[in-house]
Amino acid sequence: MSALGLDRERLTGSLGALASSLAVAAAALLIMLALIAIIGYSPTATASAFIDGAFGGSHQLAATVMVMIPLVLIGLAWILASSARQINLGLEGQVLMGGLGATLAGTNLDGLAAAPHLALTVIAGALAGAIWALLPAILYVLRDVSVLLSSFMLNFIGALLIAYLIRGPLKNPGGLGLIESSPIDLDALWPKLGTSGLRWDVMLIPAAVLALTVVQHLTTVGFRLRLISASESAAQHMGISTKRIAASALLCSGALAGIAGSSLVLDSFTGSLTENFASGYGFIGIAVALLARNSPVGCIASALLFAALQQGGALVETRVGVPSASVEVAQGMVIILVALSGLVLLKVSRNRPEAALVPEIDGTV
């Protein structure tokens, strides 16, 4: 316990955060169901379709967990950047580039054994994601350009770049008129995980969560990050180069998003790079981190919710007829409610005895 720097105070704090996140998730689902009832569908039928779609069988469950992989990785990427006070809105673009990097390595490195080919494919994805975060990082370090804006703008460039590549240089020559790249070599795919329908990349979830948790709590890097998020000015006065750390955090954040992108391509139905393979994951991942209140472990639960919404939504549409856009309503609700609950928590803590106002019984005289 204490090795991770946990104490009772922090524990009650995180329990409170957990409770409020659960309340937010429940409220968002209820509001969504209420809206569905209002527009005239049966909420119970909708709810059961949802549950069937997300968890109804091993097939559905596997599909839901598959969606969790990129969501968790992107959530962690957001947490990493924001722990260095950077708002990485470019995750979507970094995911796209990760997919592109993985595609390039996965389709071009013929003659390699399976394991190194897969490793190189994933590393290429990470590198490509990091490269897409490099420009915002450089602009920030040299010219104080807002990372929020520069990284966000690169999303569009990334999307258009891929749209061009899969119609041009990377176009699948054997494709049946589909707009996609050549399929990735089979030996560059993650091996199957038994008969579960999943692949081994599902292990990226616990591995990445564990790694980030260890970095945050046990390492000097984590200490620097904590110091920077607590007080940037104090960190600078301690001789810590906050910009260098912010830049490194951005690159690592981009790399994580890139790995998420590589998994999206490798696990995709066609096994190739397609136009919309990232379909907004770069932003849903942010919501995952927000709902998890920047806790890496919390990202797993939070990603499960969003993945279930995604998967369940599809069945709701076919079975009950409710447009799957209702899922987006629920996602939006989560974000609004997380923001609101932040305000509520602030208010509560204001009404509680505040440190500055409590007289210290200081008998040092």
Binding site: D7, A230, A234, A235, H237, G239, L357, P359
Partner: protein, 517 residues
């Protein structure tokens, strides 16, 4: 001209105190912050609220200003019992407050801040003209000179305070509460403020003046209520009391805060500064300063806040670029180099909350900030938790830091204990040079004693200290030599023996004013 009689009846109405508290109590959990506090503030007077940090003064005034709500007791404004729901209602009742930590928007101008404070802005455009006139009128009338177009960030702390006071004046406050207003002022600025306060009460406004400094209370107050441990221990007419009595009431025993300055033979040269210049925008905040500090010596820098002291400290502590030569033990420091990591320099920053500590991190983390990645405390990038814990325990004990546990967030500690954490951390690395900027700002007497003691001990152990303070008495009593800083220059460096309050004071006031250009 009507005769005086109607005025007299009105005068009788006015005899009700401007502000009266009747058995007001406030608890935070088990802690009693205010215990049945009662006193009355007469209209048109300066009423001082005296007490050590933590005696409950600020809590009390936050109750009056509506930031907190009393658990019991009544508050009367102008003889009328009121419930003050929040600052807005307080303002409507003519109560204004200058907080210890200013409530200003840093990147807006003085004028814009004052517009903000008045509320009621139109939807389109701002009527700045009349307000600007009103502002210049008020500031010249009360000698509160500030440039209405200057951005807050560009102002010194002292100037920012003037803006806060102007905000209240423009808002037409009848009762002005000033929470520790002099913490940031020089003697000259203080006498200016004192004159302003006298002027205000002469006009029938009422001032509540929170302080833990006896001197200023005798300068300006008519009456004084003393708080200790949240309860009133007495209210005195200033004319009928003396400092000794108030001090005894305040701390509950006799105090003698005299620093015995030891004179030590000057040792080796630790710091040698030649032709130091620090740019701030287009001008030089520090212009051509040269001095030395030797082992076993304290060099004090006296001066009005905002004359380049902050920039001097930032340059010497490695947080700002500079021109000129700075040698530490004969070794030249590169301009803007990260001397902050040089274990031979310890720094107590002026703005403790911003630069010196991280309030949400634990006491242990704050103690380890300088050394967390050193070999004993980290291996292969992993922190050695046991060593860290052991070391912070030792520092907590050695420096008598009062905290329930090393894991306590620093923000929960008193200001004095926070400063102890800074001192412990900075002295822990065994520095040869200690740069102490405003080391006792906002501290109570007990914590001040502690800081003075540590500086004296550091000096005895052969350390060189550069003490920068706007508390003139502090500089005079601790320093072996005193440099007076005006307009970015040292206008004089005096031996303690030849430095009198008058002489240093008049140098600070700028006998050689030309330097400012």
């Amino acid at each position: 001209m009507p005769d005086g009689s109607p005025e007299v009846t009105q005068g009788g109405r006015q005899a009700a105190p401007a502000l009266r508290l009747d058995r007001v109590s406030k608890r935070f959990g088990a802690v009693v912050a205010n215990d049945e506090v009662s006193f009355a503030v007469a209209r048109g007077s300066v009423h001082a609220l005296l007490g050590e940090n933590g005696a409950g003064k600020s809590t009390l005034m936050n109750l009056v200003f509506g930031l907190l709500h009393p658990d019991q007791g009544t508050i009367e404004v102008g003889g009328e019992p009121v419930t003050i729901a929040g600052p807005r209602e307080a303002r409507e009742r003519g109560i204004g407050m200058v907080h210890q930590h200013f409530k200003l928007v840093g990147d807006m101008t003085v004028l814009e801040n004052i517009v903000l404070s008045q509320g009621g802005m139109g939807l389109v455009g701002l009527e700045l003209g009349p307000l600007r006139e009103r502002l210049t009128d008020l500031s010249s009338r009360f000698n509160l000179e500030v440039d209405p177009e200057a951005t807050i960030e560009a102002l010194s702390v002292g100037q920012q305070q003037r803006v806060e006071i102007l905000k209240l004046l423009v808002g037409g406050a009848e009762i002005l509460i000033l929470d520790e207003p002099t913490a940031v002022l020089t003697p000259a600025e203080w006498s200016g403020l004192a004159a302003i306060l006298r002027r205000l009460v002469a006009e029938g406004r009422t001032v509540v003046f929170i302080s833990h400094k006896l001197g200023e209370i005798f300068d300006v107050a008519d009456r004084c209520t003393v708080l200790r441990d949240g309860a009133v221990v007495g209210t005195r007419e200033i004319a009928g009391t003396d400092k000794a009595e108030l001090a005894r009431l305040m701390v509950g025993r006799d105090v003698a805060l005299r620093v015995e300055r030891e004179h030590l033979p000057a040792g080796e040269e630790i710091l040698a500064v030649e032709g130091l210049r620090v740019a701030a925008g287009a001008r030089d905040a520090v212009a051509e300063i040269s001095f030395t500090v030797h082992a076993g010596e304290v060099l004090g820098v006296a001066g009005v806040d905002g004359n380049g002291q902050a920039e001097l400290v930032e340059a010497l502590s490695g947080n700002r670029r500079f021109d000129g030569s700075v040698r530490l033990l004969g070794e030249r420091l590169a301009p803007g180099s990260k001397t902050a990591h040089d274990p031979r320099i310890g720094v107590i920053p002026e703005d403790r909350h911003r630069d010196g500590v991280a309030l949400e991190l634990s006491v242990a983390d704050n103690l380890m900030m300088r050394r967390f990645d050193q070999p004993g405390f980290a291996r292969f990038g992993f922190r050695r938790q046991a060593a860290v814990r052991e070391h912070s325990r030792r520092l907590i004990e050695e420096f008598g830091i009062r905290t329930p546990s090393p894991a306590q967030p620093l923000g929960r500690l008193s200001g004095g204990n926070q400063q102890k954490v800074v001192l412990a951390r900075e002295l822990d690395r065994g520095p040869r040079l200690l740069i102490a900027a405003q080391p006792t700002r906002g501290l109570d007497i007990g914590a001040m004693e502690f800081v003075y003691g540590r500086i004296a001990e550091f000096k005895r152990s052969g350390g060189a200290t550069l003490l920068i303070s706007t508390e003139l008495e502090e500089v005079m009593s601790l320093s072996d030599r005193i440099a007076v800083m005006v307009g970015g220059r040292f206008v004089a460096i005096l031996d303690n023996a030849e430095a009198t309050l008058d002489r240093v004071g008049s140098l600070m006031a700028g006998v050689e004013e030309r330097a400012a250009a």
